[in-house]
């Protein structure tokens, strides 16, 4: 009778295990440091390059000569070491991984804190730093403390204009920014089945904002169906009775559109309560809400209208971009007056392309609104793509219409 983490890691909560890693990935930021650490370790040959991925997403295309040089070096290393590289424009690492090799029951480690995103497949997926990643490159394994688990029990279905992002903001605010530190979250309950894979990725993505090591869904019919579309045949996992450290109950039918207000992700307000707040920029994208469903929902609201404020839309991956082109969603977004930038992290981490100036306010679909994150003196509100669309049209925070 075990939690998902205990089943996958094969040991009870609280124990330390050394575990082979099925998939490991790093991006242009952490990959550079991992390469350095590997060189310092004196390791030449990698035992399992086929399990490794490098994905350039954080600062793409390169913004300075320095960035370009670092990326060139890492590109060369990928070639010589046999690590598969998704170069600039392929998408955000978590999204790219979600479109490919992740399977239920795998141990997946990314050199990025939002690697918990991939728990949406029922994998044990977590983030580490660059030196840990170097050791994984060198050995194919790493150590874990098997986490205790908090169940987030979802009941009923979303109604009105609420989206999976609003569920994510709800549980983050209920748990708080350190409410699940060292723990795993399991999203369970009858409400889980009705959430799409895109929505599950959004929910798992924000687990780390509560301090959690990972957030997970059981692989069910939706997971099996999604993976079948991506050419993989897997079986669902049946939940066992198990001991959760605690449970958080969320009635999905009662959720309304929400925003996290500056500068804490666990401080949320109903959109209605802050409607009218002036904004300078809207940003739709990131590993939280740059997926196809987000772009489609955004387009549905702005279709045939014009945005009243600088609006930047960044698809989370090339596949998302291609689909948005094929379905006409992208044309609607462009016609509405939005800027579209190449798939990647964009201004999420405040490094380039959409950085905020002193006193500027951004409504973003990202996962973090830390002080100064998108630029010194900037303020960040976090919302769903629907709220972002309504607000872009209004030029101020606004409540989205019902789909």
């Amino acid at each position: 009778m075990s939690t998902l983490s205990e089943r996958i890691l094969g040991a009870p909560a609280g124990t330390y295990v050394d575990r082979e890693v099925d998939l490991a990935f790093a991006h242009d930021g952490t990959g550079v440091l991992a390469r350095e650490a590997l060189r310092d370790m004196g390791v030449e040959n990698l035992p399992h390059p086929e399990r490794l991925r490098l994905i350039f997403d954080h600062i793409i295309p390169a913004n300075t000569g320095m960035t370009a040089a670092l990326q060139t070096e890492l590109r060369g290393y990928a070639r010589s070491s046999g690590i598969a590289l998704t170069d600039a424009g392929g998408g955000i690492c978590h999204q790219v991984m979600s479109e490919g090799p992740v399977r239920p029951g795998m141990v997946v480690v990314g050199a990025d804190s939002h690697s918990c995103t991939l728990g949406a497949f029922g994998a044990f997926a977590t983030g580490v730093g660059a030196t840990d990643m170097a050791a994984i490159w060198a050995s194919g394994a790493t150590w874990f403390r098997v986490p205790e688990t908090i169940a987030v029990r979802l009941r009923g279905d979303l109604a009105g204009a609420a989206e999976p992002k609003d569920i994510a903001l709800t549980y983050v605010s209920k748990l708080g920014m350190e409410g699940a530190t060292y723990r795993a979250l399991e999203f369970v309950g009858d409400g889980a089945a009705g959430i799409s894979m895109d929505g599950r990725l959004t929910l798992c993505n924000m687990a780390v904002e509560t301090g959690a090591k990972t957030g997970m869904f059981y692989a069910d019919a939706a997971t099996v169906g999604y993976l079948a579309e991506h050419g993989a045949s897997v079986s669902p996992w049946i939940p066992e009775d198990c001991r959760y450290e605690r449970e958080v109950d969320i009635d999905l039918s009662g959720i309304v559109p929400l925003v996290a207000v500056p500068h804490r992700v666990d401080t949320i307000r109903e959109v209605e309560a802050v409607a009218g707040t002036q904004i300078d920029q809207v940003f739709v994208g990131t590993c939280t809400n740059g997926r196809y469903e987000d772009l489609a929902r955004f387009a549905e609201i702005v279709r045939g209208k014009k945005v009243a404020v600088r609006t930047l839309v960044i698809p989370a991956s090339r596949a998302v971009l291609a689909r948005a082109i094929a379905t006409g969603v992208l044309a609607e977004i462009v016609d509405a007056g939005c800027m579209v930038a190449p798939p990647g992290c964009g201004p999420c981490l405040g490094a380039h392309m959409g950085v905020l100036g002193e006193g500027e306010v951004c409504l973003s679909t990202a996962n973090r609104n830390f002080k100064n994150r998108m630029g010194v003196g900037g303020e960040i509100y976090l919302s769903s793509a629907a709220t972002a669309a309504a607000s872009a049209l209004a030029g101020e925070i606004a409540v989205p219409e019902v789909a």
Binding site: T67, T181, G211, F370, R373
Partner: protein, 157 residues
């Protein structure tokens, strides 16, 4: 593993963006990270960091996995970080670069207070007040003792 130094007190939920901002990440030059340590929070910290012990509130190091945060602290000369709780990636990263992290229920801190810690014995003292420190796993102790994961690895080759 022991250490001591004057305290630099920080609040709760200090995220890694505050420790080292995203705009300084695109370099491999560690001295750049050290020079901008905690700059947006308090630009005077970097001048006081050498030989000091950071005493933070809960959830120290939350946010991104950027290892530059712990490298910046170490390169700036910080001898240890004490907090009632840490974000897990920050905690792992600190051990991996050989920066002692002491999880202890320290409830008050004044800048400059004398901090002494002994990770083997499992305690930290802030201005004479003694707090128990949460023990590390055997593997974490071995990595820390080696000076980080890179030297730990080299020593096992």
């Amino acid at each position: 593993m022991q250490g001591e130094g004057p305290a630099i007190c920080l609040g709760s939920d200090i995220d890694t963006d505050q420790i080292i901002a995203g705009r300084y990440l695109r370099t491999k030059d560690r001295s750049v990270w050290a020079a901008h340590l905690l700059e947006d929070l308090d630009p005077t910290i970097v001048g006081r960091a050498r030989g000091a012990v950071i005493v933070a509130g809960r959830n120290m190091g939350c946010g991104s996995s950027r290892e530059q945060a712990v490298v910046a602290l170490r390169e700036a000369g910080v001898v240890g970080v004490v907090a009632p709780s840490f974000a897990r990636i920050f905690f792992r990263n600190a051990i991996n670069v050989g920066l002692p992290v002491i999880e202890a229920p320290v409830s008050s801190c004044t800048d400059g207070a004398r901090v002494v810690f002994d990770l083997d014995a499992g305690w930290v003292k802030v201005d004479g007040e003694r707090y128990p420190a949460r023990p590390l796993s055997a593997k974490m102790v071995a990595i820390l003792r080696a000076g980080g994961l890179v030297p730990y690895w080299r020593s096992r080759l």
